[in-house]
Amino acid sequence: MKHILLAFLFAAPAFAQSAPVTLPGEEEVDAYEVSNANAGAKPFESTTMLEAFHGREGISRIVDDLVEQVQKDPRTIEVFRASDFVRLRRTLKEQFCYILNGGCSYTGRDMVKVHEDHGVVASEFNALVELLQDAMDREGVSFGAQNKFLAKLAPMKREVVVR
């Protein structure tokens, strides 16, 4: 009995994870269920891809570059005008790291929920793909590895593009 109670107590935080995950410096967001499934893709199984992306440091540089570029590119500037870039950088790094099997958990929201109010169109999706390709080029990720990663992201177009 005692054990069961203890187990329940320890398990409790897991049930209570519908509380939003926000870190200092980030804006508040509505409550959501935290789960790696929110990342929208299954991770790679080996570490080949992580190496191709130069580990977590490489991923971090790519995301920083991407988030900088979406604020400059005329095709994406409008969509990201009111974004919380501190949170976006963190969650994107988590998501990429999770998918690339870098040993991270994704604590952000799912792709439908986070994009549904932004009215993203197909041409904007493609613009972001190109900016990501530019960032991966600058990091020196091989074209083949880039495409393997993009193959994981491509189906998310159905969730991100809403009109």
Binding site: V121, N147, A154, P155
Partner: protein, 290 residues
């Protein structure tokens, strides 16, 4: 008509219509995903159409391409030029004019030096299922159905060499899949046709008049965002008693020089044409589009 349709239950939809009409976009496709233009004008490879829709537009806009293609063979030279329009990445309409110059062969066959067959190709294609680029989690390829109406301007000669008609039509189905994790593009096309040398020698003939099913295939390997290399194969009918007709194949490299310009070079083996064998030569195509 629109106004009359705007009764109470759909008044909202009607109110939205003008807004939609104003928002027609141009551009937005990823490089090379509009394909190049075939010798017959469809979005595709060089010899065979793909299920991709020409033009750079997405589902929210319109796009267009124009192309010039030349093929230099040992005994012939071929030129085609035309325009294609893509509507909402769904429908493709194209017109292409072709000129097939018989050079010395024309003299040898008694047609006259540099005798030239001309052909107009009016084509339409509709994308019916799938998404070649984004559906990376599904096996289903992008599938399109197409139809071509072709008219040859040398009806008398077509008849003289045993061809049945100087006008013809074809239908086809194409399936295209990008295997992004392997940087590969695959296409298969089934064409229902009776065209002789794609119609440059007319349609139907003294050996066979009926439409037959012909298989075509392309493969492409993406070396970079802007460079695709690969090969194509196109089965062809053999309807004329006077001359055996061979299947076609090529090896190509397509380079998206800028967002608007794609240059394609190929080595093409077009087999025997009007009794002149081993027509192997170079193919060069310039496509401009938005």
């Amino acid at each position: 008509m629109l106004v009359r349709l705007c009764v109470a239950p759909i008044v909202l939809a009607c109110a939205a219509l003008p807004a939609v009409a104003q928002e027609i976009e141009t551009g937005g496709k990823l490089r090379l995903t509009r394909g190049i233009s075939t010798i017959e004008g469809q979005g595709g490879g060089g010899l065979t159409p793909w299920a991709l829709i020409t033009g750079d537009e997405t589902d929210r806009g319109i796009g267009a391409t124009a192309h010039v293609t030349a093929v230099e063979l040992p005994d012939y030279s071929f030129l085609s030029y035309g325009v294609g329009v893509g509507l909402f990445d769904r429908v493709e309409l194209s017109y292409t004019h072709q000129e097939f110059d018989t050079q010395d062969v024309g003299a040898a066959l008694g047609l006259g030096q540099g005798f030239t067959f001309g052909q107009d190709v009016f084509a339409a294609k509709v994308r019916v299922a799938g998404d070649a680029v984004y559906d990376q989690d599904k096996w289903l390829p992008q599938i399109a159905l197409g139809a071509n109406w072709k008219s040859n301007d040398q009806g008398a000669v077509v008849n003289a060499i045993g061809g049945s008609d100087d006008e013809g039509w074809e239908t086809y189905a194409s399936a295209t899949k990008v295997l992004l994790d392997k940087s590969l593009l695959l296409n298969g096309t089934l064409r229902w046709t009776n065209a002789n040398q794609t119609g440059l020698l007319g349609y139907g003939g003294n050996l066979n008049d009926d439409h037959e099913l012909m298989a075509e295939a392309s493969i492409g390997w993406l070396l970079s965002r802007n460079l695709l290399i690969g090969g194509e194969y196109r089965m062809k009918p053999d309807n004329l008693a006077i001359a055996q007709e061979d299947d076609w194949l090529d090896l190509y490299a397509a380079w998206s020089v800028t967002r608007h310009i794609t240059i394609t070079g190929a080595y093409a083996d077009l087999g025997s044409i009007a009794t002149f064998d081993n027509q192997r030569g170079v193919y060069f195509s310039l496509q401009a589009g938005f």
